[in-house]
Symmetry: C2
Subunit: 120 residues, 2 copies
């Protein structure tokens, strides 16, 4: 008989397209949006680190007790790449809704990956 | 005629199974392994942040000029979840080889995702 597997982590790949360019340029604003999403998810924030690129673009990470959120933006393409990696029973959907709203993405693409398949 | 698309980022999803438990327990060691992989890739490290979980397990991120590397470990399952997100011409394969060797994974699973599909 086959052994059932379970996933240790949930990983959301979120592609945001057609965002207002202005929302993708400022590290402090991106950080505020990701921290708000972490709060919506009921995650426990351990730390965060955001920085700007030259001439523009933002890179950032929010470390949560339950894993992490990251973002990289390309304002010139009105695109942001967001990852949400979690373990434990967080309210992921609330975090995703918060991010889609904050960055005003007109189009998005989302995939969920199961990470760490182990025997139950 | 269809418009060709190109990807702004390359994202490696790396699942390491059957690693020696001892290698997955210590934040300083995991940090050393990820920084070594970043060096192999010829990435420019901007910062890093690693911490331990109770009773065990490590969570960490290395921020590079070209995006990020992250890790989360479950020593009790001998499993580590690693992500490498890059833009620009890095030597990704050298970084992956370095990580597989450092963590002594007996089994691994790798997928590459293209992030940020835009018109050329």
């Amino acid at each position: 008989m086959s052994t059932p597997l379970r996933a240790l982590g949930r990983h959301i790949i979120l592609e945001l397209y057609d965002c207002p360019e202005e929302l993708l340029k400022h590290p402090a604003e991106a950080e505020r949006f990701l921290l708000a999403a972490a709060a919506e998810m009921k995650a426990t924030v351990v730390g965060s680190n955001f920085h700007a690129f030259s001439p523009y673009g933002v890179s950032g990470v929010v470390i949560i007790q339950e894993s992490h959120l990251t973002i990289h933006t390309w304002p010139e393409h009105r695109y942001a790449a967001i990852d949400i990696f979690t373990c434990g029973p967080l309210e992921l959907e609330a975090g995703i809704t918060s991010l889609l709203s904050a960055f005003q993405a007109k189009r998005h693409w989302l995939r969920e990956l199961e990470r760490g398949l182990v025997e139950d």
